[in-house]
């Protein structure tokens, strides 16, 4: 069953003539995990924010985004707020700034629960602590009472994951969730994300510029370049038979371990010369 259906989505900002996203279409089945790969400025995050209905007010969106057969483009703020955090949620890139510094993290997670389920404070606490445990935080009781600045980057990113997952949404959008973390923490957070996504059977739109990271979490991938989708397929296909020159470049740079010592390292430009 199709959970998310994006048709001819274009987004432009202000009076700018060049759209940030131009006419992209893709769909996502319930429980499916789709990776979105592309460099900075390729339109990945804009696509994600369009699905969340969180684009700034100067954005013009055309085309259609339907979630569970509900059209999101043009939906009012109240209707959208009802979906956010309940049916769709988002894990943000920057764990250092995505939590309110004035609020204990337990309360921030509980807030999501309260907004959509009207949970009693006591019951919410129990659920929050168990959710913090599920995302792999040791000592969740203490973490729940901590302020964000008392936690490490990895801990904060897990808290953000807990916020995104506590209402068992149908779709979780992860916008470069591990980019800001160091490599060892990144691996552990990804493992945990994989685990909780499997447990909750949620679909996932996973945005990254790192093919290796996407291949750990996703079944399918689409490659974005300059606001367009240039290639789409399963992770295995993309790795073994990349079609678009840009994708070939991405795959080559993701397999640096196969380069002989002394040889020059490949860059994406070797495969796909940029427009001047």
């Amino acid at each position: 069953m199709t959970l998310l259906d994006v048709r001819d989505l274009s987004v432009s900002f202000g009076r700018s003539r060049t759209p940030a996203v131009r006419g992209i279409s893709f769909d996502l089945a319930a429980g499916e995990r789709l990776g979105v790969i592309g460099e900075s400025g390729s339109g990945k995050t804009v696509t994600a924010l369009a699905v969340m209905g969180l684009l700034p007010e100067n954005a013009t969106v055309t085309g259609s985004i339907s979630l569970n057969a509900t059209e999101i483009v043009g939906l009012d703020e109240v209707g959208m707020a009802r979906l956010r955090g309940d049916v769709i949620s988002m894990v943000f890139q920057e764990p250092m700034t995505a939590l309110d510094p004035t609020m204990r993290v337990g309360r921030q997670v509980a807030e999501v629960l309260r907004l959509h389920q009207g949970a009693e404070p006591g019951a919410a606490r129990e659920r929050v602590v168990s959710m913090l445990g599920e995302v792999g935080l040791t000592d969740p009781q203490r973490v729940a009472d901590a302020f964000p600045h008392q936690l490490s980057g990895g801990q904060r990113q897990r808290v953000i994951m807990a916020m995104a997952l506590i209402n068992s949404p149908d779709l979780v959008i992860c916008d470069e969730p591990t980019t800001a973390l160091d490599v060892t923490v990144q691996a552990r957070v990804l493992e945990k994300l994989d685990e909780v996504l499997t447990a909750s059977a949620a679909a996932c739109l996973f945005i990254s510029h790192d093919l290796a990271v996407v291949s750990q979490v996703c079944h399918n991938v689409l490659v974005m370049l300059d606001g367009e989708i240039v290639e789409q397929g399963t992770v295995a296909d993309l790795f073994n038979r990349p079609q678009h020159p840009y994708t070939r470049g991405l795959v080559a740079t993701a397999r640096l371990d196969q380069i002989e010592p002394g040889e020059r390292l490949p860059t994406v430009e070797d495969f796909h010369a940029r427009r001047p």
Binding site: S89, L115, I160, A164
Partner: protein, 270 residues
């Protein structure tokens, strides 16, 4: 050093507050009753700071003055923040024409001299502590609106507001749960500085006879009364002048100290 500033501010402010509270229940002498035989006494016993041109104990009048100062400060800063902060937050959060209307109105109020407003109010309703408080409060609204707007704009641009909205928090929810707590330190600092401004303004207004009418003592009208004895009894002007200076200094130091103490970047380190 920074901490010393905060402590010094707190001590001076506490001094004003305690004096004002004590004055509600007790003053060494009657602060109003004229005693012609005791005119213009120098500092000594039992009149610690001496007596004024009517023979009234200066210390007692200063104490009652502290009470007035505190009431004027609280009411005018309260009025300014209750009106200014929500307006500023609204402007900062909604932007667009709401922002324009609110901030341009603030500019107009800001440009309107507070003294003129006080004069108008005094002319219509008679000069009283209340008209002074309203004039000072209205004149301070733009300062609060600006601080709240700048803070709200900054908070609205932060990732955690986007994250909160991604969790389904409504506009009003974001205002109450995220914007207000994050700008509260700014408002606190503004309130403290605003308090100092209010003390000065009240002194100026009552010096001009546009605030608390006689015989009720205020620091401003004590200054005015002392004027005629400036050559013969200069200490008369010193005491209320000193009281005003110390109170203003106290609230300013407190504001500066709070700013440093509440700065989230510094808080992060501790």
């Amino acid at each position: 050093m920074k901490k010393a500033q905060l402590v010094a501010g707190l001590v001076l402010v506490a001094l004003v507050v305690i004096t004002a509270i004590v004055a509600v229940f007790w003053t060494p002498f009657d602060p109003i009753r004229v005693v012609p035989s005791q005119r213009l006494l120098g500092p000594g016993w039992p009149h610690v700071l001496g007596t004024d041109g009517f023979g009234i104990d200066i210390a007692s009048r200063l104490m009652i003055g502290a009470r007035t100062v505190l009431v004027v400060g609280i009411i005018s800063v309260g009025l300014a923040s209750i009106v200014g902060v929500p307006l500023g937050m609204l402007a900062g959060q909604l932007g667009g024409w709401v922002d324009e209307v609110v901030m341009r109105s603030a500019d107009i109020v800001y440009a309107f001299p507070a003294i003129l407003l006080a004069t108008l109010l005094a002319a219509v309703y008679g000069s009283s502590t209340l008209t002074a408080m309203i004039a000072i409060g209205v004149a301070t609204i733009p300062a609060f609106a600006r601080v709240a707007r700048a803070g709200a704009k900054q908070v609205m641009a932060s990732d955690f507001v986007l994250a909160a909205r991604a969790s389904g928090t409504s506009r009003w929810g974001v205002a109450g749960r995220h914007v207000l707590p994050n700008i509260a330190p700014l408002i606190g600092v503004q309130a403290s500085v605003g308090f100092a401004m209010a003390i000065l303004a009240e002194a100026a207004l009552s010096y001009l006879g546009l605030a608390t009418p006689r015989p009720n003592p205020t620091w401003g009208n004590m200054l005015r009364d002392s004027q005629q004895f400036l050559v013969t009894a200069p200490l008369q002007a010193l005491w209320p002048g000193l009281a005003i200076a110390l109170a203003v200094l106290g609230f300013n130091l407190l504001g500066d100290g709070l700013r440093d103490y509440l700065d989230p970047r510094l808080r992060e380190v501790s």
